[in-house]
């Protein structure tokens, strides 16, 4: 198959090599499987830590303490206001400057019995902290969506702030938080590809290596695109199950169907007319 018919086509390396492509995609090589593992675990850990940071930052941002509000504000301002790639470099290369010459992310870090590449750890840190800033806004919006009467009822029963948050407000806010949180994780799965620039062998880096070795450029990158698609598609399905379990739609939150999440529009029936609502994008 010739993909660029109007360009001089003497060079045979512009011929799509379907055999190579299929072989690259399936069965995946050990390198690709290893890359997949890194992509998934970095995304999962960074998202999980990001959610925790986001909850803490949101609570700090809504607290009575001016200092806590200031810290939360600065945090969100900085990490939403600078490119993630820059943050990754700051974290990876910057720690010796911040910590008196000590590199927190050397080539190999022994961490609770695991031997992790320093660059992977730096990536997890950078992605977590960046994600926390975005989650902070999402969690804040979730908390603000809860009727203040809920907090008042909890308080009037003698509940402390902590109990009120843990038992009354956050569980309800979860329904509002879950849909955008799903989008965040979809983004996170793809964002991990940035790790390739600091030599972490996640799937995109594996594809780059395959390209360098074979010059099968389009085949390699189309192959890795399929892997990202597979990951985000599976996640969309999981997200759908979670949202149905939590009854997100009952709480007034918009429950996007699998198809609307995949193709970016939601069909909602209002009376007899069908309207298409553009779904909110990521960041």
């Amino acid at each position: 198959m010739n993909l660029l018919p109007f360009v001089a086509t003497a060079n045979s390396s512009f011929q799509f090599d379907i055999g190579w492509f299929i072989h690259f995609v399936f069965p995946p090589s050990p390198a690709l499987l290893g890359g997949l593992a890194i992509t998934i675990y970095v995304a999962v850990i960074a998202q999980a830590v990001g959610v925790v940071l986001g909850v803490l930052s949101a609570l700090a941002g809504m607290s009575r303490s001016r200092v806590l509000r200031g810290i939360s504000g600065l945090y969100v301002w900085f990490f939403r206001g600078t490119p993630l790639l820059v943050q990754l470099f700051l974290v990876y290369f910057g720690t010796p400057y911040l910590f008196g010459g000590i590199d927190l992310f050397p080539n190999h870090v022994g961490l609770v019995g695991l031997d992790i590449k320093g660059a992977v750890l730096a990536g997890i840190v950078a992605f977590s902290v960046n994600e926390g800033a975005y989650m902070s806004e999402i969690v804040r919006a979730g908390i603000l969506s809860i009727d203040p009467g809920q907090t008042e009822a909890a308080k009037s029963l003698g509940m402390t702030y902590r109990l009120t948050m843990m038992r009354i407000v956050l569980p309800q806010a979860l329904r509002v938080i879950i849909p955008p949180l799903g989008n965040e994780f979809n983004n996170m799965l793809k964002t991990t590809s940035l790790l390739s620039v600091i030599a972490v062998e996640e799937i995109f880096r594996v594809a780059q290596a395959a390209n360098s070795a074979s010059f099968k450029t389009f085949e390699a990158f189309l192959g890795v695109a399929l892997y990202y698609l597979a990951l985000t598609t599976i996640w969309s399905a999981i997200q759908g199950v979670i949202e149905r379990r939590l009854g997100v739609s009952q709480a007034g939150g918009q429950q996007a169907s699998f198809w609307s999440r995949m193709f970016g529009f939601a069909r909602r029936t209002t009376g007899t007319a069908e309207v298409e609502v553009p779904s909110s994008g990521g960041h």
Binding site: G149, A153, L157, G158, M159, Y161, L163, R167, I168, Q172
Partner: protein, 269 residues
């Protein structure tokens, strides 16, 4: 209603003092808006006080100050002999620690106009949550008490449903049961029937009347004068941030003194 509701919580909770509420010269501002202009009110054990007054006169604000959902700027409010929400330091009011305020609120039940049940919990969980998590009551005991309360407000079959599946009147009865489960010395009601369809008002008032008869100490913001006439010991008329008239229900029906009171009563009666 012939059942004894308070039996479900082991009888009438005993306040520590004979004077349950003692508010003196309470003043409150919302920013520049002077909302309470020196409100004083004393409520004795087993007393039922009904608060009436025009919209914006400060009724809601006042009863919210009693459990410190609102701060006050001047005056003192004691419940059960404890200064609510503040410590006194060399004559000045300093807001108390959140933990101490939470502890004081355990003794003060509140029922809201819009119920404010927890929508993510079943009816029974709504009632057992605070006793278990706040008072540390064991689960089986909390459930037994919760079921007993539900039975006495006529909602036994509803323990496993969610609040959204209940009518307004049913929700408000659950809210009363939820407040009672903490065995409070005092119950505050802020227009508990004004968000209800007319046919549901009776079922809620019946529960409140029964509580009044059983000796529960209550402050009720309500314009249900039939309720006031039947069970109130005292009616208090608020106007523009002040209590302008106070007396028995009979006094308000037969010989209201203040022009504002007369005008107000002529509108609601």
């Amino acid at each position: 209603m012939s059942v004894n509701i308070l039996d479900a919580i082991g009888g009438l909770p005993r306040p520590e003092t004979d004077t349950v509420v003692e508010a003196t010269a309470v003043e409150k501002w919302f920013g520049k808006l002077h909302v309470l202009k020196g409100v004083s009110l004393t409520v004795k054990r087993r007393e039922v006080v009904v608060v009436i007054g025009a919209s914006g006169s400060g009724k809601t604000t006042f009863i919210r100050c009693i459990n410190h959902l609102e701060k006050i700027q001047k005056g003192r409010i004691f419940v059960n002999g404890h200064l609510i929400g503040y410590r006194e330091e060399s004559g000045k009011l300093v807001e108390d620690k959140e933990r101490n305020i939470a502890k004081q609120r355990q003794e003060i039940g509140m029922v809201f106009q819009r119920f404010n049940l927890f929508p993510h919990m079943t009816v029974l969980d709504n009632i057992t949550e605070a006793p278990m998590k706040v008072r540390g009551v064991p689960k089986d005991e909390a459930v037994t008490t919760g079921r007993a309360l539900l039975a006495r407000v006529g909602l036994s079959m509803k323990e496993a449903v969610y609040p959204s599946q209940l009518s307004g009147g049913q929700q408000q009865r659950v809210a009363i049961a939820r407040a009672l489960a903490m065995k409070p010395a005092l119950l505050l009601f802020d227009e508990p029937t004004s968000a209800l369809d007319p046919e549901m008002i009776g079922e809620v008032l019946d529960v409140m009347k029964e509580l009044a008869i059983e000796g529960m100490t209550m402050i009720v913001v309500s314009h249900e004068m039939g309720f006031a006439r039947e069970v109130a010991d005292r009616v208090v008329m608020m106007d523009d941030g002040r209590i302008i008239e106070e007396g028995t229900p009979e006094h308000f029906f037969t010989a209201p003194q203040h022009e504002r009171t007369k005008a107000f009563l002529s509108k609601i009666l």
